[in-house]
């Protein structure tokens, strides 16, 4: 079975400060991990994916993700938050050899000017 947990429904951060959006997962075998962002009345936009290799993966809009195998986590990070980063962020997992993505319930990020 595959599952994803995003433990924080809401994250608030001041503009210019670093941000972290947390995600833990459960999957059999090696995971494929994805982060998406959703703006109001829009679909999900792909930010980045972790497949294998370096534990720090760089993505779009200055975002990066830190993969930790022992903690089964892949936290989304950005060194300096922008007000325009305010949106809903989803983590998703797919097991190697499987075809379907399983999504978390999302974390709403608010960047305060």
């Amino acid at each position: 079975a595959q599952s994803v947990a995003q433990p924080e429904d809401q994250v608030n951060v001041a503009e210019g400060n670093p941000l972290t959006v947390k995600c833990t997962y459960s999957v059999s075998g090696n995971p494929y991990l994805f982060w998406y962002v959703q703006y109001p009345n829009r679909g999900l936009q792909f930010l980045l994916k972790y497949i294998t290799g370096d534990n720090l993966v760089k993505g779009s809009y200055g975002f990066e993700a830190e993969f930790n195998k022992s903690q089964t986590s892949v936290h989304l990070k950005k060194p300096s938050a922008l007000v325009s980063d305010s949106a809903l962020y989803f983590c998703a997992v797919r097991a190697t050899g499987a075809n379907n993505l399983f999504f978390g319930t999302g974390t709403r990020l608010t960047v305060i000017p």
């Binding site: 994916k49 497949i51 998703a92």
Partner: protein, 115 residues
């Protein structure tokens, strides 16, 4: 490159009425997905197509939902009859087999309100 196209963007219908959603995937993407996203939740897969074949429809409520992907390109998802609980955003996504990780790219979605 054009992204995933969906129409309509919004639909309001009365319960028991039929409704259909259309999706055109990214050119060349052989896999197409339909998801339902309820308010405050992540997307949940309804059906996945590999070319024109529905290879996973285990989560599709088959008593009222149907889908087709003729010629392996665009796809239609239908609900007949709609129920109040069907109010949600219906998302279409596509991916390319040879993409490492099979990244899914999503359309803007169709927001359905059943009254």
């Amino acid at each position: 490159e054009a992204g995933v196209v969906q129409s309509p963007r919004y639909k309001i219908i009365e319960k028991k009425q039929p409704v259909a959603f259309w999706c055109n995937p990214i050119s060349g993407h052989n896999t197409l997905y339909w998801y339902r996203q309820n308010l405050g939740q992540g997307p949940e897969l309804l059906i996945r197509y590999e070319n024109e074949e529905a290879v996973d429809d285990s989560q599709l409520p088959k008593d009222r939902f149907s889908a087709e992907r003729l010629k392996g390109v665009d796809s239609t998802l239908k609900i007949q009859p709609a129920e109040l609980g069907d109010s949600a955003v219906y998302l279409c996504a596509s991916s390319l087999d040879r993409d490492y990780g099979r990244t899914q790219y999503f359309g803007p979605g169709t927001r359905l309100l059943v009254l």
